[in-house]
Amino acid sequence: MRLTLEWSDVGEIRAAATTRFSESALEIDVDGLGAQLAEDSRLERVRIDLVHPGEPCRIGRVFDVFAPRAKVEGGPDFPGILGALDRAGSGRTRALAGVAVVVTDQEARSPATLALIDMSGPGAALTEFARCHHVVVSAWPAANAGRSEYLAATRLAGLKAAVHLARASADRAPDRVEVFDLPPPTRVPAALQHLPRVAYVFQIHSHQRPTGIDEGILYGDPVRRMLPTLVHPNEVLDGAVVRGFMGRNSTTHAIQNHRVIRALFAQHGQALWFAGVVLTVAQATEPERVRSAAMAAGLVADVLGADGAIFTKIGGGAPHVDMAQAAAWCEALGIKTTLVVEDMSTDGSSEGMLLFNFPGLDALVNVGGSQESLALPAVSRVVGADDLLPAFQGPLSTTYSSVCGAIEQTGASRLVAVVQ
């Protein structure tokens, strides 16, 4: 399977009458886009704000972040969620660097679950989202829209905006081209058969909070009773997987630019052979958990024939253990594993960092601890959280978990919790 991402670098964004490129600036028809997004009957109104790196600005109530992508060859955009059902992962896809779509949640009541992005100051140093321009989409629910209908509509608005922006680059020569080309796992050239085969086990949702029917995650499927499933890594990069409504410490943007998949592609054919991706969900009950761990390990060991596997998790403590159980099963089958974990301590003590203790799970990378306290200074502009002013303008006394993109569970994090 071969996917080409055709990148355009965006140096600037500004409101204009038409959405189009002008040199490296992306001009955006903010009113037209807003009107298009507001056509969804589940939404009452939509507001769009433009935010820039370095601005003394805080984006509040962040629900999810999307990377602008538009298919120009090889099927519809975000099949099963936005476009018709088809396969993702092949052909050509337009991609924009330096700009993202941020969608806010205007309904969340508990301030503890709110995420933010600071575009300058100490909070900005913690997340890559501070270094790109943002088209911030805020939508308010129609009177009859329930919670999950509102979130589904809001997420769809974000995906539509992401496609709308990337589409503007379609008739333009890309600045860079990136090719992800990986044959089926059985077709390894003879000269490369000595390379260790490495699989990635990607937990895409935790059923600590079960999904509703409109919370599509994999090709639009809410993955309610999903058993471990093999996919090609290109499918993940190209819109087959989006984040659920409450993916703590991850975003759809991180999945579209998946760091583990990119890191394995970077070494593919040189230090390793990328054997494939196993998708899993963290389950709610013991038999489901054991079944999932056993089957995931079976796919890694006996179907992909991997020598090693990398694991990540999404969500809180139970998914942490689900991941470890599958990895322990792999180790028992002779597969070497590395796990990307979060520091789970709630009191900052090293004893609480880990929630498992299985033999063989001795290679752990951590993405930092979300409970550590964090002080953020006051900002002059707040976007997406008018109802929380003036308190939200700061200074804020919060935790790392509130900074969108800081403690990133699928591997983008550039923080590590160090024991001192």
Partner: protein, 347 residues
């Protein structure tokens, strides 16, 4: 100019050997004995204004009196920093250094630092509370080690960021701090896996747990004469959560009477656990706390007696310290009520 008070034992304070181990605390002006290495390490940055001395046996045999007197002596000199030791592998001395540093930090709010060898019992006892620089077993490299102790101490005085245990040379305190790194977690994980695949040693970014094994309890024996209690960390509470049990990171547990109840009425119970999907246990609390079946067994005589109190908390993001404390408290109550066995349901 940073004002420093040093603490040394009788030997490093040039009072004598084991024959002087009983001497009481005193303070002399300036740097005496091993404190001269501290002064040398300080250079122009600071001055040792006084050296405290105390015999090893005196400190070990009446620790409370010794520490109280030395804290008062430290306070009298109003230093910016206390440097204790280094104690190397000397056990009584190391414990006194750790205890004095902890007391001075806590009672006077003055930063304190010490140094010792990893096998000194003081290291394990005090490394969580006090910055303890790793030293050799004896004083062969004292000046070099004094420099590292002083460097760390000056950082504390100036409230500068403290580096990692490896870079600043102290024993890990068991506290986690988010620290920026250049490579993403994904890149580090890939590199770590490649190292593991090629048989090279890898350094985990999370210390592997060293939980003590919990021995399996002896069998209950004759269940027909046993009193069995139901305990859960799955978050069962009476409706309204009267004990305000936290939905996560619990510090409290509840004790709920079930005397006279043949089963739990779902209308009267709720579940506040925030770590799993509680839909099914809210529909039927027996899926978590099987009072119904336990009563049947009690009626049939298969179980002697069902204990009439259910203990419940939420086991999610609970700190190890609170878990252990709550477990101990619940166990004591069960023991006092002559309970023979427990069915513990976790989620």
């Amino acid at each position: 100019m940073v004002r420093v008070v040093c603490f040394v034992n009788q030997f490093f304070g040039q009072l004598g050997g084991e024959d002087k181990a009983g001497v009481e605390p005193d303070a002399v002006s300036g740097a005496v004995g091993a404190a001269r290495a501290v002064q040398q390490a300080l250079g122009d940055a600071g001055s040792v204004v006084a050296t405290l001395r105390c015999g090893d046996n005196y400190a070990a045999e009446q620790p409370e009196a010794a520490i109280a007197r030395m804290v008062a002596l430290v306070a009298g000199h109003q230093p910016d920093l206390l440097v204790a030791g280094p104690a190397f592998q000397a056990g009584r001395y190391g414990v006194a250094c750790g205890e004095l540093c902890a007391a001075v930090q806590n009672q006077l709010g003055i930063p304190a630092v010490t140094g010792m060898h990893e096998e000194n019992p003081g290291a394990d006892l005090y490394r969580r509370q006090v910055y303890i620089v790793r030293t050799g077993a004896d004083s062969a490299r004292m000046l070099d080690e004094a420099r590292r102790i002083v460097a760390l101490g000056l950082k504390l005085v100036r409230r500068e960021a403290i580096g990692s245990p490896a870079s600043d040379g102290y024993f890990p305190r068991g506290i986690t701090r988010n620290t920026p790194v250049a490579e993403t977690a994904a890149e580090r994980a890939t590199a770590m896996l490649l190292a593991k695949l090629s048989g090279r040693a890898v350094t985990s970014e999370v210390p592997l747990p060293t939980f003590a094994a919990v021995p399996a309890p002896p069998r209950v024996g004759d269940m027909r004469r046993a009193t069995i209690a139901l305990v859960t960390d799955g978050g069962l509470v009476p409706r309204g959560n009267p004990d305000n049990i936290e939905p996560l990171a619990a510090t409290r547990f509840g004790a709920y009477e079930i005397a006279g109840l043949a089963e739990l009425d779902p209308a009267r119970y709720d579940n506040v656990h925030r770590g799993y999907d509680t839909t099914y246990v809210k529909q039927d609390p027996h899926r978590l706390v099987p009072v119904d079946v336990a009563r049947e067994l009690e009626r049939a005589g298969a179980v002697g007696k069902l204990h009439e109190v259910v203990y419940s908390t939420t086991g999610v993001a609970t700190t190890l310290a609170h878990s252990q404390r709550m477990g101990r408290e619940i166990a004591l109550k069960l023991k006092a009520a002559d309970v023979t066995g427990v069915i513990l349901t976790s989620t």
